[in-house]
Every structure is written in C-alpha cells, then in structure tokens.
C-alpha cells in the first residue's frame, strides 16, 4: 500500500514505514535508547532526501519521548535542575545547528557532514558498548557495570567552577558539565540522531548519575530538545513531512509495547551487545559509502521552491 509524502514529494510503502516505526519503538523499549540514529539512515536508504529524513526524525523522537518521560516523571526518576542545565546547552547548539544545516545544504556539504558525524559517533559509541557488553556477557568484570561507589562525589572534574547540588541525581558537580553534554546532544539532535544513545552512557559512566535518573533525565532532554528541533526544522528548513512523521509515531507506539514485554525475557547485556552490533553495522555501512569508488560520480537533488 503506497502513500504519497507531501514534503518529501515521493511515494513510499505505508507498511514499510510502519515497520520502521515498530522496529524503532521496539528497539528503544528493549535497549533504553531511542532509535533516531537508526531511523534517519533507514529513511535515507529508501530514498527520502537527507534533509527531510533529518527534519522528520525529531518529531518521532519527541512523540515517543513524551510517552517515556511521563512514566519516568511519575516514578520520580527525573532531576529537573540537571535536566534544565542540559537543555540550556542543547537548545543553544540545536538552534545554531539548524541554521548551519540550511547553509550547508545550500553549499552542498550537508550530506558529507551527516555521513562523517554518523561514522564517527556511531563507530565510537558502538565500539565502546561492544567491548563493555562483551565483558559483561563473557567476563566477571563487575567494574564495567555499575558505577563505582568509591569515587569521590566531585569526581575528576571537581576543580571546575560553578559547583552545584543535583538532589535527585545525588551528585554535586560543576554546572558546566551538563551544559557541555547538552550542547553536544543539541548538535546530534539537529542532525537527526536523537542523542539519547550518547546522553545515557555519558551520564552513567562520565558523570556518575544513577542509571534510572540518567534514563529519566535523558528522556526529558530528548523530549524538550526534539520538540524545539522539530518545530524549527518545519519552520526554517521546511523539512518535516507530516504524513511520514505520523506513520512513524503510530508504528513506534505499537513497537514500544512489544519491546517492553520482550525486555523482561531478554537479558540486558545481550541487548546491549545487539545494540552495539546495530550501531557498528550502520557506521560500517556509511564508512563503506565514503571509501568505495562510486559507480556514478554525479547526483541530482531537489531544490526547495
């Protein structure tokens, strides 16, 4: 069953897009990270222009993060002060990145930037997660799992100015740390990668925030960052396709329920290993595209009217 996308200006198979949504929703319920990093490349593979793929993904992330953050907020897993610091960082860079997207697209460098970012970020996070989950599956290396309790509360960044108390996160640290992490996530989000897959491990392993609070606060960060990015992608770049986004949101809501039930059956380390393999596969696919000699040197793309 085909459906015509008014902004991408092409027809796609409705079922295929629903399946993408279900997989992304399932994956995020199974592994705890959203699937923006996977969705944007999948959309590009089926022929959605990169600009539209990048512009539509944030709407899906916002929709699915809204569902997740509500339940985590009720469970008290959200550090609002920490979240606000992250958001101030992410909003400022996301807004900048969206305008940069426009300039890069006009100069013809947007695809290059997207591909390089994907290879670097997915490759790095994929490798780290891979090593960590292999250790967890095969070894007894407990150190890789839960954050060590012996580390002093200030951590290695104790010398930074602007030390603050984050009650729910049970940490005292410089406000610069969440600001910087947020700033990095903002750029990723504006490039259609969500950023939860970086934010959650960074909060757990680098900033030593308890896992539950890290997940809850990351969801808040995804929700509020993606909402702003989605609004601006539609407003500034005209790149949000409403029919594509709605189909994906419905699919992802269905997939999330299925994934939530599966996650109680599958062990966590193996899920992380699966996630690592997916991340690495996407990174290798993009790397191959950069290195292989192209069959056609030229390419045509539409120009916004």
């Amino acid at each position: 069953m085909e459906i015509f996308l008014p902004i991408a200006h092409m027809d796609v198979n409705l079922l295929l897009v629903l399946v993408f949504g279900v997989s992304i929703g399932g994956l995020s319920a199974l592994t705890g990270v959203g699937g923006g990093f996977l969705l944007t490349p999948l959309l590009m593979i089926i022929g959605v222009p990169p600009l539209v793929a990048v512009g539509t993904t944030p709407a899906l992330i916002a929709g699915s993060a809204a569902a997740g953050s509500y339940s985590h907020w009720r469970l008290g897993n959200m550090d609002l002060r920490f979240g606000l610091a992250l958001l101030l960082g992410s909003w400022s860079t996301a807004v900048g990145a969206i305008y940069a997207t426009r300039i890069l697209e006009q100069g013809g460098h947007f695809d290059t930037v997207v591909v390089f970012t994907y290879v670097t970020i997915l490759g790095t996070v994929g490798s780290v997660t891979f090593v960590e989950s292999i250790r967890a599956v095969f070894g007894r290396a407990a150190a890789a799992g839960a954050p060590a309790a012996t580390v002093s509360t200030a951590g290695p960044f104790g010398w930074l100015p602007g030390q603050m108390e984050f009650k729910v996160a049970q940490r005292r640290m410089s406000v610069l740390l969440p600001l910087l992490l947020g700033a990095f996530i903002g750029v990723l989000n504006a490039l259609g990668m969500g950023g939860g897959f970086v934010a959650v491990p960074a909060m757990i392993y680098l900033l030593r925030v308890p896992t539950k609070v890290a997940i809850g606060t990351s969801l808040l960060l995804m929700l509020a960052t993606s909402a702003v990015v989605s609004t601006m992608q539609a407003g500034v770049n005209h790149s949000l396709d409403p029919i594509l986004a709605l189909t994906l949101i419905v699919g992802s809501a269905l997939g999330a329920q299925w994934g939530a039930r599966m996650s109680s059956i599958l062990p966590g380390e193996r899920l992380r290993l699966l996630l690592a393999l997916i991340l690495l596969a996407v990174a290798i696919k993009f790397l191959f595209g950069l290195l292989a000699t192209p069959a056609e040197l030229y390419s045509l793309t539409g120009v916004a009217p």
Binding site: M1, E2, I3, F4, P6, I7, H9, M10, D11, A59, L60, A62, G63, S64, A65, A66, A67, G68, Y70, G107, G108, H109, D111, T112, A227, S230, T231, M232, A234, G235, V236, H238, L240, P242, I243, A245, L246, I249, V250, S252, A253, L254, A256, Q257, A260, R261, S264, L290, L291, A292, T293, P294, E296, L297, Y298, S299, L300, T301, G302, V303
Partner: protein
Amino acid sequence: MSGLRRAFGWSLALCCSVWLTCARADSGLLTDLESSHVKITTGFTGQHVFVFGSTPRSGDIIIRVTSPDQAVALSRKGRVGPFWLKRGKLLVEHVPGLVYLLSNRPLNQIAGRGVLERRGLTIHSTLAAAQIGGAPAAYRDWQAAFERLKQKQGLFRKLEGDVRIDGGRLFSANFPLPATLPVGPYQLDVYSFRNGELKAHRASILQVNEVGIERWLSRVALQHSGAFGVVFTLLALALGLTLSMLLRRDHGRRP
C-alpha cells in the same frame, strides 16, 4: 486493463465522430486528452495519461510532454584523501522538470535530425535554455551527467513506438507519469509528420496538482511553516503520549 481497453474503444469512437463532423470545417490535426487533470492524492503512485486524436492523412505522430521548469541541484563526487565526497554543487535552472517524447516509430526515421532539433523534438534540444550555474570547467560532462540522471529518474524519456496508429489516421498513446513528477501546468504538443516534413501541430494543457489533504498539507507546511511547526510538534507529543497510554491499558500495566 479492461478499463484501458474500454477507454481506448470509447476514444476511438469519439475520435471518429469528431473527425467526421470536423473534417470539412478544419482539415488539420485533432487531439484530445481523456482527462486534462492529474490529481495527486494521498495514494498517488503516478498515473497513466491517455492522449488521442486524428490526422487528415496518414503519417507519423510525435507527442512531446513538458512540465514547468524545475530547478535542481547537481553535485559531483571527488576524491579527498581516501574518501569520496561531494565537491561542489551547481544549480541547474530554466529546464523542464519532465520531458517525454512519444512517437509511433523511432524519431530518426520520422524526420531528419535538423528538423527534429529545430522543433525541440530531441531530449537534448528541449534543454537548450538550461543553465548550469557557475559554468563549470568540463561543462559538457556536467550536462551529460544531468541528462543521464534525469533519464535514470524517469523524468526525461523517449518512448518510441508508444504512439499507436490505427487505420492510418487515428492515433492514441497511453503513457505513465511517475509519482515524483513536478506539479503545475504541463504543455502537451502533438506534431504530425509526413515524409519527414512537419504538417501540423496542436498544443494542449495538462494540469498536474495536489488535491485534498495533500494540497492542504503542502500548502500549510510551506506557507505557514512557523505555525505548522509548532502545531504539528504539539500534535506529535500528544499523539505519542495518548497512544502509549491507550496501548498500555490494553495489555495491562506492568508492575
């Protein structure tokens, strides 16, 4: 298929009657379209357009379909260290988004190259006004690449043999337009040739437009983009939240 055949039979009958009544008044070429509108709806996957007509005497028919101009960006990959990257992007302007040439037999058998080119009846000659921004160094390579890619996308096509001629004077053609077609008024030109010479020409208009929700959505998203962004994002948030609550209730709350 039976619908097509019916349309064909119906149009032949119509052609005959039109031709018989008009023959005395106007000895020229007669053409018509089964429908002068291509409507882009939610389920649009492209559409067949049926053209038919009659000529006063037997000969050859060439039909050219041209969409409004559509600027596109053409980029070329180059090697940077070990990587293949897009290097430079040029704007191609003053060029139709779609050009179809249909004929009853190969174009070069219908008329000489000079005649065809003068009338814009080769793909290359319809692009005479095209401008590739910045006039790159190897201009011809860029130009050839542009034509090649457009043909690959099915937007520039030569359909030789797709015009059917019955009884020497009645002709018809049924050609497919792709879903990715540009919108706007299309120019449809029918040329009648005899012994390599142009005998008659008729032009008609084919409208290609989005209709219904597609039209509404693309208009709102492009003309009121700011408001659309805010409203749609709120809708996405509400939909995500509502669906997760509804579906969760169905399966019972997990502990």
